[in-house]
């Protein structure tokens, strides 16, 4: 009896190709008269998914913003002094976006080495940003300001923590892009159709720049 | 392989379903009539409650018509159009028909919106100047009330002065207005006294978590929100004892948060007030 269940499930069959992680094209089939948009342009599919992911993250921060705005109007609002290292962190994150764009530019002109260099620097800047954020928390703690100290500090810690977590995911994405670039290493620009490496880079870049923009937004509302 | 019923099976299912739906209509009507005398809203005892009950009955009438109509059509169609070997009609579009049953519900909804909106703003209008003002406070797990006393002012509340026995309302002893406040426990030893045909504004507080001040006979319900003072005003129209129930889950003993209200004539009320103060 169990054998038959297994047989039935066998015909359902689980995983597809061995390399089924993240964005990928379908396993070479679907030839003939049927096609789907995905086989023609896998990068486009990842883009669509990515924009919806960003929508979800945006809604999360809209909810936090609403809570923040509602709280700010209360009479007992007393802003805390924010540590200046936050400006440094902002610069680091902005620089990381710049180096990421530089990496993409290098990729379009051919030269995987340039891409890898750019990605590595971006990752370092991103990691430095996170270290800087933690440092900011520690500086506040040293001044006796913790999460529960005041509503302003509560929101500061909340927003920086959630943004930081998403950035950690971004570092993972950068690592993935680095691995992909090391693996395929095209000698020069690929003619016709989108080079899969640049497709990956494009998606990672959208996510990373979104996080930079999100930080600018968080920083702005926390500061004002 | 048989995925369709036999002819008799189809007929049986269609008949069963048609009859069941028809019986459903009958059962709904019969139980509603039976409910009128035993499972219904408690007798009305407030002025605004009359308009609320009227709106409720009107709405109930409308939805009953819709209920009977839809179930009637459903019962009819499952019987009439059971599989008898006929060819189904391919007809699947009729803008005029669709617009009809878009516009009619829209009109009905608009009508309800307008009546309800008018009533709602009357319910939340400012209380009349001659209204009696009382405060009620929900806590885990009972209701307390306080009257402003002869000075007509409520004393300041400060949680630091709380004492369960001596100062349950946490009145600030430094505030002169607090000296003559009359505080009662209306779940156990006392009742909230109101005057018949005299509007009353009930200001509602909470000591700990969310509660809700619900007096079914008055058609009154308003959440008690910690950190806020909410309020509701109404005019009791019948003397007698009434119950307060808590209508917002507030913890383990939420179900025993019963309070007592008594509506009296002005004379009875004055007598009670004089006696209680002494």
């Amino acid at each position: 009896m169990a054998q038959r269940v297994l047989e039935q499930m066998k015909s359902l069959e689980a995983t597809r190709t061995a390399g089924g992680n993240g964005p990928r094209a379908p396993a070479g089939n679907g030839g003939g008269s049927g096609w789907s948009r995905e086989e023609a342009a896998p990068a486009a599919t990842v883009r669509v998914g990515l924009w919806f992911l960003l929508t979800a993250v945006t809604m999360l921060f809209i909810a936090f913003t609403v809570a923040y705005a509602a709280r700010r109007t209360a009479p007992d609002w007393a802003p805390i002094a924010l540590p200046p290292i936050l400006w440094v962190n902002t610069g680091l994150l902005g620089a990381s976006s710049a180096t990421l764009e530089w990496a993409r530019w290098r990729g379009r002109r051919g030269g995987a080495a340039g891409v890898r260099r750019g990605l590595t620097v971006t990752t370092l800047f991103g990691a430095a940003f996170l270290v800087g954020q933690v440092t900011a928390w520690r500086e506040l703690a040293a001044a006796g300001v913790f999460m529960a100290t005041s509503p302003h500090s509560a929101f500061f810690h909340l927003l920086t923590a959630v943004h930081g977590l998403h950035l950690l995911g971004g570092l993972g994405a950068l690592g993935y892009a680095l691995r992909r670039t090391a693996a395929t290493a095209p000698a020069g620009p690929v003619l016709g159709g989108e080079d899969p490496t640049s497709a990956v880079l494009g998606s990672v870049a959208i996510y990373w720049h979104f996080l930079t923009a999100l930080w600018l937004y968080v920083f702005f509302i926390i500061w004002s | 392989m048989p995925t369709n019923d036999t002819t008799s099976g189809t007929r049986r299912s269609a008949a069963l379903l048609g009859i069941a739906l028809a019986l459903l209509i009958v059962a709904a009507v019969v139980t509603t009539l039976a409910a009128r005398s035993r499972w219904w809203l408690p007798p009305l005892a407030s002025a605004q409650g009359r308009s609320i009950d009227q709106l409720f009955i009107a709405t109930f009438g409308i939805i009953s018509v819709a209920f009977v109509l839809v179930h009637g059509l459903l019962a009819l169609f499952v019987w009439l159009y059971r599989d008898r070997g006929q060819r189904a009609s391919y007809w699947h579009e009729n803008r005029a028909l669709e617009l009809t049953y878009t516009i009619i519900p829209a009109i009905v909804m608009t009508g309800l919106t307008l009546s309800a909106a008018g009533l709602w703003s009357r319910i939340h209008s400012a209380p009349p100047p001659q209204a009696l003002v009382v405060e009620v406070r929900g806590e885990q797990f009972g209701w307390k009330a306080r009257y402003p006393g002869p000075d007509g002012k409520f004393g300041r509340i400060d949680a630091r002065h709380y004492n369960a026995r001596e100062n349950p309302w946490a009145l600030d002893p430094a505030d002169p207005a607090a000296q003559d406040d009359l505080v009662l426990d209306i779940s156990t030893t006392g009742e909230l006294h109101l005057v018949v045909d005299r509007p009353v504004e009930v200001r509602i507080r909470s000591k700990d978590v969310l509660h809700s001040f619900f007096v079914p006979a008055f058609r009154v319900k308003q959440d008690a929100v910690p950190g806020m003072v909410t309020s509701i005003w109404f005019t009791p129209t019948k003397t007698g004892p009434y119950e307060i129930a808590c209508a917002e889950l507030c913890g383990l003993l939420h179900y025993i948060m019963r309070g007592k209200v008594v509506v009296q004539t002005q004379e009875e009320y004055d007598a009670w007030l004089a006696q209680t103060r002494s």
Binding site: - | D5, A35, E98
Partner: protein, 602 residues
């Protein structure tokens, strides 16, 4: 184009048992995993309801046998107050999030979407697998809360602070509430991953010829629901994070100053309990539409198939799904009329709430019009679909009562509300799930369920559901409050007891009847007769694939769509249906009467 046969593409790719059946990336396996897990949770959720009904039917009565079986929850054989509130809370939480949402979006969504749009799998199979594998951990965390000190959360599935924020306010507000929040956060992430997949897949992977306006309504329902989920769930996640910080981090997002729990001042300041309610219901209301839109879509397809007639008014049906989804973001305040929010907001929310009734009415009449001059066959799936119509209408109509604030003053937090949502959610959405199961079981498992048992299941459940929930309206009329351990002490509730006893008995019968379904389901899984490719003679794409579909769903070529999904009883054909993917017919010269916009092959 490369003509690589699927089998060759997989030569040498033999996957381990773990990657084939456990950590599978095949949408069909994932869908079935979701469905089985949801069924398990449904039994648990139903069991919790039995405790609730036991207490409400016979308050104060002792049940020694049960006391021995559940000593924690029923010391001395009586349901304890804490366990009652935990049961109420967890029953709601489990049924809404861990059964209906997972079953409809995770189960049906995963299984059906690629098949009905002619794709080989979801856009992101790895993410899909991750999405499912957040679900069991969320369950473990949730169920663990029953066994921690203080027991499971007891603040209702709505978890309003301060009750849920201040641990000393109730026994379940200790570790139990924290675990509840963590569990929900995990599940929300699972839902978000799923939604991402469903949306992207529908947008990007449709077969050739399958324009959006040729999609079956099942897909429209699932697609729009996924967008709803994506936009709404993050807000609850934000609120849950803030509540966790209030509980564990000493912040005061939701807890104001000056609270005294017991005699002890609570060390919080400046938060607002109403903020939680706004954030919660901003998700909470779209959530209930997440639970009704896929059912509406599925019912449309099942009705059309069993009536051998096109769905009536396809465009208005699509439009009303979209309208309902859009409006669902604008009505959340109707849960808060008595909350203390500004009365003008109440007026605004009433307006939007009554407006949202209109597209629901359109759908109801379109379903009825679909039955007019049809050729109805009464399969189990069809019986449940017809039952859905009745239950949805009953539940939807009582919503009109609750939509109006002056009337809602009386009914808010009474059993009238409980009746309302049990009709639209528990009954209607569950009936659609049953209909969908009976209908798609052959495709999922390659076997047929037993029709006779299906009919018994339907009749016992239909009667049982009305018997259980209809009387609750009257309990609400009397003013019986929700989440009440015992209504006995209230004068205005005397005379209620016979009603409660009737409801409890009906509930026991209803719960028992579901075991007919479970027996049928599992027996058919192993011993049901083999299913054909298209046993229901249906038009939609999933029936083009074998029953069950193989790995990658289709053979060498993907289907191409020539027409909409509802060519049942087309006028100039002998057959009473024409599948979406059937080649374009040679014109016979006869005119096609009664064709609306959706009929012509493009």
């Amino acid at each position: 184009m490369a003509h690589v046969a699927p089998a060759e593409a997989h030569a040498g790719h033999e996957l381990s048992f773990w990657r084939k059946y456990i950590f599978s990336q095949d949408h069909k396996v994932i869908g079935i995993q979701y469905a089985f897990t949801s069924m398990f949770m449904a039994v648990l959720g139903g069991l919790l309801a039995m405790f609730i009904r036991l207490q409400l039917g016979w308050p104060g009565r002792s049940w020694p046998i049960l006391g021995n079986l559940f000593p924690g929850g029923m010391p001395d054989g009586q349901v304890s107050q804490a366990f009652y509130l935990a049961a109420v809370t967890m029953h709601g939480t489990i049924m809404i999030f861990f059964v209906l949402t997972t079953l409809l979006t995770g189960g049906f969504g995963n299984f059906l979407i690629p098949l009905m749009i002619g794709a080989r799998d979801m856009a992101f199979p790895f993410l899909n697998m991750l999405s499912y594998w957040l679900y069991p951990p969320a369950i473990i965390v949730l169920l663990a809360s029953f066994f921690v000190s203080g027991g499971a959360a007891g603040g209702g599935w709505t978890a309003y602070p301060p009750l849920s924020a201040v641990p000393q306010a109730a026994p379940g507000s200790g570790l139990g509430q924290t675990l509840w929040l963590i569990s929900l956060a995990l599940l929300i992430v699972a839902f978000l991953f799923g939604s991402l997949n469903y949306i992207t897949t529908v947008l990007q992977l449709r077969a050739r010829g399958l324009s959006m306006l040729r999609l079956p309504l099942t897909i429209w329902g699932l697609f729009v629901t996924a967008i709803l989920s994506l936009l709404a769930f993050p807000v609850l996640l934000a609120a849950a994070i803030m509540l966790l910080f209030d509980r564990l981090g000493g912040t005061s997002f939701f807890v104001p100053a000056g609270l005294l729990v017991g005699s002890v001042p609570v060390d919080h300041a400046g938060g607002n309990p109403l903020l939680w309610q706004h954030l919660f219901w901003f998700l909470g209301h779209p959530e209930v539409y997440v639970l009704i839109l896929p059912p509406m879509g599925m019912i449309s397809d099942i009705l059309a198939n069993n009536a051998r007639k096109p769905i009536f008014g396809y465009r208005f049906m699509v439009g009303s799904i979209v309208a309902i989804a859009f409006l669902s973001f604008l009505v959340w305040g109707h849960h808060m009329y008595t909350s203390g929010m500004h009365p003008l907001l109440g007026t605004a929310f009433m307006t939007t709430t009554l407006v949202i009734a209109v597209p629901s009415a359109i759908k109801t009449f379109n379903w009825l019009a679909t039955l007019w001059r049809a050729r109805i066959r009464f399969t189990s799936a069809m019986l449940f679909a017809l039952g859905f119509l009745s239950l949805f209408v009953t539940g939807g109509l009582t919503g009109i009562v609750l939509a109006q604030p002056p009337v809602d003053i009386y009914f808010q937090d009474t059993f009238f509300v409980v009746a309302h949502f049990h009709f639209v959610m528990a009954s209607a959405a569950i009936f659609a799930s049953f209909a969908g199961t009976y209908y798609w079981f052959p495709k999922m498992f390659g076997r047929m369920m037993n029709e006779r048992l299906g009919k018994w299941h339907f009749w016992l459940t239909f009667v049982g559901i009305y018997a259980t929930f209809f009387p609750m309206h009257y309990a609400g009329f009397m003013g019986m409050m929700r989440r009440i351990y015992s209504p006995q002490i209230y004068a205005h509730l005397q005379g209620l007891q016979p009603l409660n006893v009737f409801v409890s008995i009906a509930a026991f019968v209803l719960f028992a009847a579901q075991f007919i379904f479970l027996y049928n389901f599992f027996r058919s899984l192993f011993r049901g007769p083999q299913a054909e490719r298209n046993p229901w003679r249906a038009t939609t794409l999933e029936w083009e694939a074998p029953s069950p579909p193989p790995h990658l769903n289709w053979g060498e070529t993907l289907p191409t769509v020539q027409r909409w999904a509802y060519d049942y009883s087309p006028p100039d054909m002998a057959e009473d249906f024409q599948p979406q993917a059937a080649p374009a017919a040679v014109p016979t010269g006869r005119s096609r009467e009664g064709r609306g916009d959706g009929g012509h092959a493009r």
